[in-house]
């Protein structure tokens, strides 16, 4: 993976190969878990970074649940390499990995991602057909069992925010739900999107504040301050409903309600000129600055066990 070009966008097959190479190069730290299959049968790969032990407390990171947000999958690939490179060199990451595991799902919506490369660059949803409709796919970030079906999600299969027929109807979502429940010891959950430059915490489906709001807010401030220290990129932060809009059935609302206190979602860099077509030369700067915020969240999780 030293020769992998992190400064350009890659197809799903290239990312799958990268994952296998990383595992082969780091057999004592990295393993690949297939937590399920997408609707079209693609593996839902999760990289596990672990230095030993069983069922250690863990941190979950996923990228690319909305397929067209290419900078997220590209950043996830960079994070994977960063973790193996920095272990043993960066004291903070080393301390975390000596006590905790990190799970990283780089392509959370593989059917959609493949579709963006082959058929429709602007595709966001999954690729499961909807009976009775010509429109395909479900917004996997409206499909979680957290205020499912409430305001801020669409009941129309043709909408970009279609919630699906029922919570967890999408295997891409259900597979994570099953994994999180069966693991039972995940302490932080970070879901990464692009592009609005925001760091958000629960809730999206209700105006009720999360019971840990004060701590989550302070940690978000620390994370975006660290992020901005590299290139000055400015982020907004707060709860989903107060910072963007009401959204029901979202990922981190469900994880928070499962008891995962440090639940956050990112919206990565926005040049204000290109939208989802972020130039490839922005990938590494985006990944580098985001890593600083991720480290702030992971370090806080490590130092504040619960």
């Amino acid at each position: 993976t030293d020769n992998f070009d992190f400064s350009r966008y890659h197809t799903i097959d290239e990312i799958y190969s990268f994952q296998d190479m990383l595992v082969a190069e780091n057999p004592n730290m990295v393993s690949k878990i297939v937590i399920g299959r997408s609707y079209q049968g693609r593996p839902l790969n999760v990289l596990k970074f672990s230095t030993g032990g069983t069922n250690r407390p863990a941190i979950w990171i996923d990228t690319g649940i909305h397929s067209r947000e290419w900078v997220t999958q590209a950043s996830g690939t960079w994070f994977a390499k960063k973790i193996v490179t920095d272990y043993g060199r960066d004291p903070a990451l080393t301390a975390i990995l000596n006590k905790m595991d990190i799970f990283l799902e780089i392509v959370t919506n593989p059917d959609g991602f493949y579709y963006t490369h082959t058929s429709n660059r602007m595709w966001r949803k999954t690729r499961k057909p909807n009976p009775g409709s010509n429109c395909v796919g479900v917004d996997p970030n409206r499909n979680w069992d957290a205020g499912f079906g409430g305001p801020g999600a669409s009941s129309s299969p043709c909408s970009e925010t279609y919630r699906g027929p029922r919570a967890n109807s999408e295997s891409e979502v259900k597979s994570i739900v099953d994994f999180v429940k069966s693991h039972g010891n995940i302490k932080a959950f970070v879901s990464i999107h692009s592009y609005s430059q925001m760091l958000l915490y629960p809730y999206g489906y209700t105006r009720n504040p999360a019971k840990d709001q004060t701590e989550l807010h302070a940690l978000a401030k620390k994370a975006i301050t660290d992020l901005a220290s590299l290139y000055g990129t400015r982020y907004r932060y707060g709860s989903i409903i107060s910072t963007i809009y009401q959204a029901s059935g979202g990922t981190i609302d469900w994880t928070y309600d499962q008891g995962i206190k440090y639940s956050y979602t990112f919206e990565l860099r926005d040049t204000g000129r290109h939208g989802f077509i972020l130039p490839a030369n922005q990938i590494i700067p985006t990944a580098r600055e985001t890593w600083l915020a991720l480290m702030a969240i992971m370090d806080h999780t490590f130092k504040n066990p619960y």
């Binding site: 082959t118 058929s119 926005d270 290109h274 989802f276």
Partner: protein, 99 residues
């Protein structure tokens, strides 16, 4: 392969609650087939909307009739996608063949 010739991405910054509400109304006008890249969230917060070529005139007429200012963030989406594809192709050509 779906192409986006002539599609534009418009940027709108709602000045007040009335404009915000009018922009949100666009989300319900399904005949325009708009794709909200960045939703209408708040006053003074940019909204980005991909407008298919066939809906450009109607959408712009709606905005202008309501007195809502907009700018064109992406003039021709397909041109930008072509550039992205060319960049990927050229990067693949120069990549180490062992990759």
């Amino acid at each position: 392969k779906k192409t986006f010739e002539g599609d534009q991405v418009l940027r709108i910054i709602p000045k007040d609650e009335v404009e915000l509400s009018l922009v949100k109304d666009l989300e319900d006008m399904i005949e325009f087939e708009l794709d909200f890249w960045k939703d209408a969230a708040d006053v003074d917060t940019p909204v980005h909307i991909r407008v298919p070529f066939h809906g450009l005139q109607s959408t712009k007429m709606y905005l202008e009739s309501q007195g809502i200012d907009y700018s064109i963030m992406i003039e021709d989406l397909q041109a930008m996608l072509d550039e992205e594809q060319e960049e990927m192709d050229s990067a693949a050509r120069v990549a180490d063949p062992r990759n």
